[in-house]
Symmetry: D2
Subunit: 338 residues, 4 copies
């Protein structure tokens, strides 16, 4: 950590800072510049927090030099992590697409969807049984019953299932229904108690980025899961909040190369929630693969106009099929499989 | 709801929209303009969601005309709601200040803080036993033990206590320790299962605004609590995320007059978390009272430099006392008590 | 335009609104809902501004239904516009890459750069003679002398030149040096006097998106140019400001499909300024082409470490060459040439 | 400047950095930590730019330690600057209010407005002759003729006039009409050629904050003016762009204490453009004064409903008068005059 002193800082003020650093068992380097004196803390600075120094008289700012995350950092684990999801490898050379409807509605809708997802060439399926809705007055998902329908529909096509866990009390039920991938939604990215609990199981976790989470906060949320022992974490960028009103979120495609540099874990993209409109999804999906994403989470509904939620962002089966074709060509263009 | 058709929309496409509106039991008004035809849905449009129409061919956009919240809306409840917290009225003519440390550290720290908060003239006390920290490697709060220390310290000065609930499984413990005001933190504003649970009890709830929540999403989060039966909700603005790096958040002071217009519930401000630096808090606190806030949530620590977390944003006891004086003068200047 | 009245609006208040609409020569449609009355203005609503009604008693909100832009809108000009830049077609099936250094430094640097840009397969060249720098104490560009160096270097390789115009008083000089494409920078996107002046000439104009401009404001800025008679406008997305600090801007790749839908004009992307780091540029460039961009504006410097400005965002010649190869494969994968 | 090397950085890479620092005539301090080596540049680091080092192999990041602004910085000029505007002192203990309409419409409108502004107790008047409008098809202001009307109306009441300069070619005309305060609008905050020109005259300049400008960029824009010799600069916060759609901008009240700490120049607030609705302006104006602003820029129109632009954000004369009363009480509450 680097502590920058104010121009007018006194010797006793600097000595207090030095003393505080030493109290934490770290060593000190002092660099006296023309306008500022800079005090460096030498040792494992993860023990220190900038705020501890910010409150001390004479201190202008305290800056972390070392990244706060460790288990998820590529710096300490240079090779890519490939996650095995019932035989489907995520994070390797093959780009994986997870398709399916926003929410589980009926058994026949799920059966139809599973077949279409499988026919389009997707190797995993998504669907929500518990839905985080902005309004308490709208459909909240079928809950446990929805998990059962989903499991039944996906089994026929040997599709591992991905579904969102909102409430920590439901984790056992998720394990009971053998959910293959647990999704932590955007609104729960910093629900630390939930993160700690999924950190204790071994199921792969898709960690969606918070609505306006920084890359660093996101990595730290993953570190919460990893610190519990579960290292099967998949980052999912789904658009971040912005001032633009022409679309729901701004897909942050830059997050892909940046995460691939910072972490060894897989990174996927959800183009459906990013744009919020089905007609935007193909362009965004193509951009994601070209940028180096390891996979995609795409909404498809057998009959989008009749969908119970997010009707305007689901592709229909034909659109998904056509998209898969063009994604495959882009994957090949950058030397990957699909 | 207003459905705007594309310029090139056909008659059958418009008929489909009309049919869909009628299926929901609403009536229809059609306005044919020079460039666009607009279809209005007449009746309780809360049953309709814009996405249902967005996916239909020929539809350009669907716009809600009526606000989606009802119980919390001033439109349906014109008088201000005043919440009684063990004899302290929040939401009335008196501006209330809730003071105290970021986290419960030791019994003596809490005893000291309680006395100082009381002496400064605050009538409620804050303190965290469960702390949402960005890093899993930093102090996470004393938990239940912290609740006990807090309760004991506050009792001596008859200060009702305000503390954050992060995990739904802890609600019973909060009731057991008779926490006076349950705080829902910024990272949990859309933790809908948590909102539903606090909606079932009668304890007052401080609902902090999500890091980048819109006013409308915030009101809907409160509607989740209210829909469960608990109408004792207090909105707390604590700064929103922005591109500015000179301070932690931008305090959104405009939220005060806007919320006072939209809802009958009390609105308070947390100037400490907004700016993130103790030296900014007094100016922000003064702005908040002048803008019409019903109260403030301010961090004070007996010895800020030794605080275990957020050390640089806590006022010391003398600063709090001085601030209370100036806030009182501003409250009087706008015809309020303090 | 749709004017939504408050629930408590009176008949005389509605009549005032109706009168005001009629004063502007438009007709009126009234739709009385259960909770709100909605008044629609029928006719060319571009004459009306929502603020005119927002101030009237009883009005809750006024909403534009028709888009405010016209010349640049695809709605009124369905075919793609292809701009001819000295024989290089921008906006057609071929993806064009404009390469070159941030700023014109010396004749030999420009000669070297021109040769490398040409060898890499780029058909246009960029370089700044007038530089908008955040600090008045840093290099501001060589000005007119820089234009001369640039012209001389590019001529040898028959590369049309692209350079930024900051000051309206310099337009004649730009014409004198026969600058092929005038770039309007991000800080000048709403410098309306500058837009009006470039609207009077026939040179192609690259209009960079303002730092936090909405798609609609950007289209309106282009409309300013188009209204003057110059329809040779190229939109350039270069990242927008956000809360994220891990990179300079967030590249808004969603802007590509949205602009292609809203306007018939070409859309290009500047991946160099978006990320702000050379190592991010290739991934962003690939995403841009995959998303459907008509071209790219990429920084390359013969010796990035010695660049006088933005040293850390320029590719070196070998990196540019390698990138061009992979971009070509992606272009082919989506059926385009390069 | 602090240059943080990557963990894997080699000795030759560090030596290159050291050499580069020495080339600029600065000295070097090397601090070898457990995980990172940090190289400090000692001397006037304003000559260095972080990007120069960011491109060098082995460098992780380069961080400025010293602020880039100097003339406008309080660090080098501790006393408050008080600007004399024809006898009206701005920046001293008295809070000044600048009132008037958005745009100059007619002579009688301006005459009426001037009288009302004066009667309400404002000591300066605002009004736009040149208007930056989003659409080229709306009223663009009366131009020079507007300046004449404004001058004539204000003279009767000895009100110094404040009006916006958009085009550098109009500066001479502004001097001819003896405009008392030149306003640089939000869209031109980084129109560096315009800043340089107003830096050459001695007229006070109100520098509005760019739509999403950081505090640091804003101070640097002022430094552009100051570097030319004109130190009569007034900062005006007018709300910044955000994701919130319930109001036009978020008024950044935190900017007041932060600017007062960073600069010796006066800081005022424009509550009218911030919220965008007349009914929000009083609360925001009160917050601004309470936060320590030196003045306000408020829109008032004799007949808001008939205003030619921004009709819904102008107060009427009675509202302005009432607001002035409450502002005076708040000013007194914090020990200031009005």
């Amino acid at each position: 950590m680097i502590i920058v002193m104010e121009r007018s800082a006194t010797e006793p003020q600097m000595e207090s800072v030095v003393r505080k650093i030493r109290e934490f068992g770290l060593d000190v380097n002092i660099s006296r510049g023309t306008e500022r004196t800079v005090i460096g803390a030498i040792g494992d600075e993860r023990k220190l927090e900038p705020e501890l120094f910010g409150a001390m008289p004479g201190v202008e700012q305290a800056i972390h030099i070392v990244k706060p995350y460790k288990i998820v950092a590529r710096e300490w684990h240079p090779q890519d992590t490939v996650i095995d999801i019932h035989g489907v490898a995520l994070g390797g050379n093959t780009v994986q697409v997870i398709g399916g409807p926003c929410s589980v509605e009926t058994q026949s809708q799920m059966d139809e969807a599973a077949q279409q997802v499988s026919e389009a060439g997707c190797r995993l399926m998504r669907g929500g049984a518990f839905k985080p809705r902005s309004s308490p007055y709208t459909f909240q998902g079928h809950g446990v019953e929805g998990l059962a329908m989903f499991r039944q529909a996906a089994e026929k096509h040997r599709l591992p299932i991905v579904t969102e866990l909102m409430d920590v009390r439901m984790l056992d039920t998720f394990l009971e229904y053998d959910v293959d991938v647990i999704q932590i939604g955007t609104r729960n990215m910093q629900n630390f108690d939930l993160l700690k609990e999924v950190g204790k199981v071994s199921k792969p976790v898709i960690l969606k980025r918070g609505m306006s989470a920084t890359i660093s906060e996101w990595l730290m949320a993953a570190e919460y899961i990893a610190a519990g022992g579960n290292h099967n974490i998949i980052f999912c960028e789904r658009g971040v909040r912005s001032y633009e009103t022409a679309y729901r979120n701004i897909l942050d495609v830059t997050a892909v190369p940046v995460l691939k540099k910072e972490t060894h874990l897989p990174v996927i993209i959800d183009p459906s929630h990013a744009g919020g409109k089905a007609w935007m999804a193909p362009a965004l999906a193509r951009a994601a693969v070209a940028a180096g994403a390891d996979g995609l989470l795409i909404e498809m509904h057998p009959h989008p106009c009749d969908a119970w939620c997010d009707a305007d962002q689901a592709l229909n089966p034909q659109e998904l099929k056509a998209l898969m074709e063009s994604l495959r060509r882009i994957a090949h263009a950058i030397g990957r499989e699909m």
